[in-house]
C-alpha cells in the first residue's frame, strides 16, 4: 500500500516538482501516473523508493514512514520495490542473464536460486534466447524487457515502471503493458508512469494525471 499526504517537493529549493500531492494506492492495484513531460511523474516514483527527498508531507510505503528510515537501512524498503527505470540502468559489461541475476546476487540469494529465478524471469518477458547477449546488442524494446525482468526477479510487493514504453511502437507498448498486467495478476501492486494517453485510454485501469506537479484528474 502506498499513501501520500500533502507532499511538496522542490529541486534545489526553487523549481517546484510536486505540489500538494495526496493519493492512495491500495495493495494489489494497477495505477497509471500520466501527464506531460516535466509533470513530475519520475519525481513521484523516486520519492517512493527514497531516491529523492521531499520538503513536507508524509509518505507511507508498506506501512513504513519512509522519511524515518535510516540511510543505512534503506535496503529494507527497496527490496520490496522493483523499479523499471526510465533510462533502464542496465550494466553494459554484463550479459542479459547477468544483469537480471545481479538483482538477486545483491540481496544475497544462493547460486541455485539466482539461476532458477533469473531464467524464470527472462522467460516471463520472452527473452530466454537472448540471455547471453549484451544490452547494447538488443533493440530498445528488448532492453526494456530486460529491465522489467530485473525488476520482477525478486518478486517485490510493489512494481514501479517509469515510462517503460518510451520509444516503442503501439503494439510493442501494449505487449509491455500486458507484462505488467500479468505481474499485477500475480499480486504485485503496479504503478506505471507514462505520458502516452492512448495507452491509458486503451486499458481498464485507473489513472492519476499530473501537470506541473499537481494532480489534475484521477
Amino acid at each position: 500500500m502506498i499513501q501520500l499526504y500533502n507532499i511538496f517537493k522542490t529541486y534545489n529549493g526553487k523549481i517546484p516538482a510536486l505540489n500538494d500531492i495526496s493519493l492512495l494506492i491500495k495493495e494489489g492495484a494497477f495505477v497509471f501516473i500520466t501527464g506531460p513531460s516535466g509533470a513530475g511523474k519520475s519525481t513521484l516514483l523516486k520519492l517512493l523508493y527514497r531516491w529523492e527527498n521531499f520538503d513536507s508531507g508524509q509518505v507511507l510505503v508498506n506501512g513504513m514512514n519512509i522519511a524515518k528510515i535510516k540511510y543505512t537501512k534503506l535496503h529494507l524498503l527497496r527490496r520490496n520495490i522493483g523499479v523499471v527505470f526510465q533510462d533502464y540502468k542496465l550494466l553494459p559489461n554484463r550479459t542479459v542473464f547477468e544483469n537480471v541475476a545481479f538483482a538477486k546476487e545483491v540481496v544475497g540469494a544462493s547460486t541455485k536460486t539466482i539461476r532458477f529465478k533469473t531464467l524464470d524471469s527472462l522467460k516471463k518477458v520472452g527473452l530466454l534466447d537472448k540471455r547471453d547477449s549484451y544490452p547494447l546488442q538488443l533493440s530498445g524494446g528488448e532492453q526494456q524487457r530486460v529491465a522489467i525482468a530485473r525488476a520482477i526477479v525478486n518478486s517485490p510487493k510493489i512494481l514501479l515502471a517509469d515510462e517503460p514504453t518510451g520509444n516503442l511502437d503501439p503494439d510493442m507498448a501494449m505487449e509491455i503493458v500486458r507484462l505488467f498486467q500479468s505481474a499485477n495478476e500475480r499480486g504485485m501492486t503496479v504503478v506505471f508512469a507514462t505520458h502516452n494517453h492512448d495507452l491509458v485510454a486503451k486499458s481498464k485501469y485507473p489513472f492519476i494525471m499530473l501537470n506541473r506537479g499537481s494532480i489534475v484528474r484521477s
Binding site: 529523492e52 540511510y71 527497496r78 520495490i81 540502468k89 550494466l91 545483491v106 544475497g108
Partner: protein, 299 residues
Amino acid sequence: MISTHLKTAIQNLKSNKQVGIVTITTFAIAFSIFGLFLVIFVNLNSILATWSKQVQIVVYLKDDISLEERQALEDLIPKNPDVESATFVPKELAWKNFKNDFSANADILNSLDINPLPASYNLQFKQSADRVERIREFAETLSRKPGVESLEYGEKWISRFEQFMVFLRVFLLAVGGLLSLGLIFILANTIKLSVVSRQAEIELMLLIGATHRFIKGPFLVEGMLQGFLGAVISLILLKGIHIYMKFQFLESIQSILRGGEILFISPLHSLMLISIGLFVGWIGSYISINQFLFAGDLS
C-alpha cells in the same frame, strides 16, 4: 560471500591495472624502507644483547688497602647470588699480563722499575634477563667500600647504547606511523578511482536494495589486497637484500663482532608488517567507499 567479494575485487584491480600497480609499488617501497629500519633495529638489538652478556666488573684496589678491608670484600663478593666467579689478580700478575699483551713495547716497559698497575678482582656474573641492572647495582655498592680505588665495567657504553635503542624504537614508531598515514591517503585515492569508475553499478546496487556492507565488501577487499601484496613484495625484497648483505659482508662483520649473525626480522615482525598492510588497505578503502556512499544520504 568473501569469495565473491574477492572475485569482484580482483576484477576491479584488473580494470584499473595501472593505478593498482603504482599503489602496490608505493606500498612495497614504503614497507621496504620501514623493514630496512626494522632489520637494522633487530641487529643492533642483538649486538646489544651480546655485549650485555659480556659485561663484567673489574674492581681495582688501592695499593694501601688494609687486610681487614680486603677481607671485607672477600666476604661480600660471594654473598651476591649473581656472581658466578671471582678471581683475584695481584699487582704482579696484572703487570705480567700487561707486558705480555704489549710485548712489542717490551723494552720501554722493562725499563720501568715500578709496577703502576693496581691489584684487582675480576667478577663474572651469571646470565639473567636484568643482568646489566644487577651488575650496575652491585657496582654501586662496591664502589663505596673502603680500599676500592675504582671500578671498571661497560656500564657507560651499555647505557648509551640502551638510550640509543630507546630512541630508535621511538623513531621506528614515528616513521611507521607517518608512512602508514601516507599510505592510507594514497590508497584512499586509488580506491576512490575504482569507486568512481564503478559509480553506475554502485548506484544501481543501492537502488535494488544492496546493503552498504555488500557494496563496501569488494572495495575493502581490493584495498586490503593491495596492502597485502605491497607488504609481501617488500618482505621478498628485504629478504633479497638480507641474503646479499650476508653474502657480501658477513665475514667482515663477524671479525668485528667476534662471531655474529646478520639477523632478518622475526616471523612475528613479518606478520606485523603484513597486518599493517592489510589494516592500512582496509582503512584507506573504507574512508573512500564510505565517503562515496554517504554523499547520497538525503537526511
